[in-house]
Amino acid sequence: MDDISIVLCGEAGQGIETIEDILTKILKISKYNVFAVKEYMSRVRGGSNSTEIRISPKPIKAYVDRIDLLFALSSKSLDHLSNRISENTLIFGDKEILGDNQKVIDIELVKTSKKIGSNIYANTVTAGLICGLFNVPEYELQKFIKQFFEKKGEKIVKKNLEAISEGYELAKKIVESGIKVKTKKSDELSRDMGKDILLSGKDAVSLGALAGGCNFIAGYPMSPATGILSFMSANSEEVEVIAEQSEDEISAINMAIGSWYCGGRGMTTTSGGGFALMEEGLSLAGMSETPLVVHIGQRPGPATGLPTRTEQADLDLALYAGHGEFARAILTPGSIEECFYLSKYSFSLADKFQIPVFILTDQYLLDSQHNMPSLDQKKYEIKKYVIKTEKDYRRYEFTKNGISPRGIPGFGEGLVIQTGNEHDEIGHVAENATLRKKMVEKRLNEKINLLKNEVIYPELIGGKAYKFLLLGWGSTRNIVEEALKELKEPKLGFLHFKQVYPLPREIMGYLVNAQKVLAIENNASGQFANLIKRETGFDIKYKILKYDGRPFSVEEVVKRIKDILER
């Protein structure tokens, strides 16, 4: 077996997330390629949460349904994952807890933990066991565990070390019983993993924003977007960022707007439901030509929907949000690397065109992590566009290039006058019809045109001389890429969009050459396919849609593409 998919399942509160944290880090140090993603219920205790950790000699970046090794810590685990358990799945766990299931290999994870003092160590026992199976030297894990639990005090460290050593014992028993679970390490291959980093989508968005000069963030807690606000809060003083939990989303977006007005680089982070409350603020940014960065971590709606799960159904929301007409840009990172680069870029883009820029991610992407070579910090260098004002400064001056130079209060001799009302060039309220028409064109048509000149082109993956073309955006990127490798269909190309609005002018050029055009989207209506139709008139006939609140898996994408190509 080259690539192994391990799934850990337990109740909320059993520390599944902690094992993911420990295992991804230690396995990476041990030169395995790792990918991990979690799925969890909207509850603090009970239920069933699971995390998938893939280990491989080759880089892996996507979710699979397949489970090779399942470690079940609670009685409901097997039911919870029944769709994904196959005859090849090895299930480990306490028979006492899981019941007399023939498939279960009785390994006393919870019982051993209780022996140590409490069942809360079951996760660490499991971590020890897995490291044992994959030949991670015990002293390496011990060293890591000491650091990991250092802050919690000596007693906790000691108990966890005990738990590890019990885990390694259990691993020995499994190996002795003749069960083999082995995969190659990456050092048996060519690439040096020593300098690899391990990064999650949510940390990549935060770090990208910082790299882009973000120095202000306001938000109201909402899954799955809170991680960005917590990251910034934790690092606020060190990197000089104001990170504020506001009283509501309305306040959050207006604070972000206020920060830009005065020369800061602000963002807000939320999910669809929170963003719905921000729409009026978005419209103010559009009218007052104040730059703004909005991160939306999508989750399934409507209303509260499935708070902890994933979907790509807020493209229409971002696209049409806000009353009135004004330009905007929507960036849709498809990988963790793109989360970093596009979040960084969004600040310069917003600043340059004085528009709202969206970063549209989702729970799956934000909660995924994998190892990768270090990022290129030179890519998308920061650009700033604030000017020092003169005495006769006019905030909304008509210029040849369509953009009014943006001053800020207290920098220069001029006054910066902005309003959400229609206004003259100075910034005072005005209702003149000719002026109104000119201002609308400045905010809408001219900016969209300018944006199209700098659009990020979609990336063509797979067959360059394609007959079949699959279109996707956002988090489906790596899942489809792996599916393509399995499909080995040279006539199939995959066009991944990192920017879905505005679209490049040449978009039709991609579509006309294909016999069959397909779209893949984690939503029920094919929002991106509809956007393509709106912009080009081209009707995408084949849609691969998914809206059960779960991400696509590699297997599912393979199957559904095959079904269409064979039609």
């Binding site: 120095n215 604070m255 309003t419 005072h428």
Partner: protein, 286 residues
Amino acid sequence: MNAKDFDLEKIDISWCPGCGNFTLLKILKEAFAELEIKPEHLVVVSGIGQSSKTPHYFKNNTFHTLHGRAIPIATAVKAVNPNLTVIAEGGDGDMYGEGGNHVLHAIRRNPNITNIVHNNMIYGLTKGQASPTTMIGAKTTLQVNGVILEPFNPIAVAISLNASFVARAFVGYIEKTKEILKKAILHKGYSIIDIFQQCPSFNKINTFEWFKQNTYYLEDEYDPYDRINAFRRSIETEKLPLGIFYINEKKSFEDNLGLYNDKEDPLCFRERDSNKIVKYIDSKLR
């Protein structure tokens, strides 16, 4: 400085004749001039309503925003540049109705801004509907049988939340209002000043004369640091007291951020050391 330094040429004011806003505009210009606050260093963030148009009528950095949203914007402005004098201005409907939640949380957050509320107890721009401060029984086109909702008491609410500076004034008393306003601006922390004014077009009950007859000043020996007493005075209804009700010196939001302890330069002018941030990001990526 002189109040004339704030004059704008060729302005077309959209207020009705006799509106209290005219007096308040004059008071504002005089107060800023007397405090030597230059227009370039003054930011007035306003909401929506007749009173929220005020910053368009004199020299300042203006952000005329959305209904009820001046406070979050003003809060961020002050946070990224504490060197500026920042005012959040609006009417009773704007601040206490649409923006009520922001008022409550600005009191808790305590940014060093001054919240000026033009309180004429009626909606002007939308032509005469009840506001959160309209008195019970007042008949309007929407409250056809008279207002039945308990009027909002901003002074009592602010004191109950332990606000940093709470005052009430009436535009009929120009000098006294100006003095209170200047103290509010100089106060470090969130200051709210609720300013009574007449609306000759839509409020036929609470007229200029009515305010004169139904208000009085807190006595000279009044102690604004006594919270319980301040609350007691804030709920008087027979006649409405004017003056500084309550002062609670405490650390401002900006001071609590931890970003201005060692360095004074505003965040918006700080050039991040790009090598430092690259190294920092690298360290996080390990």
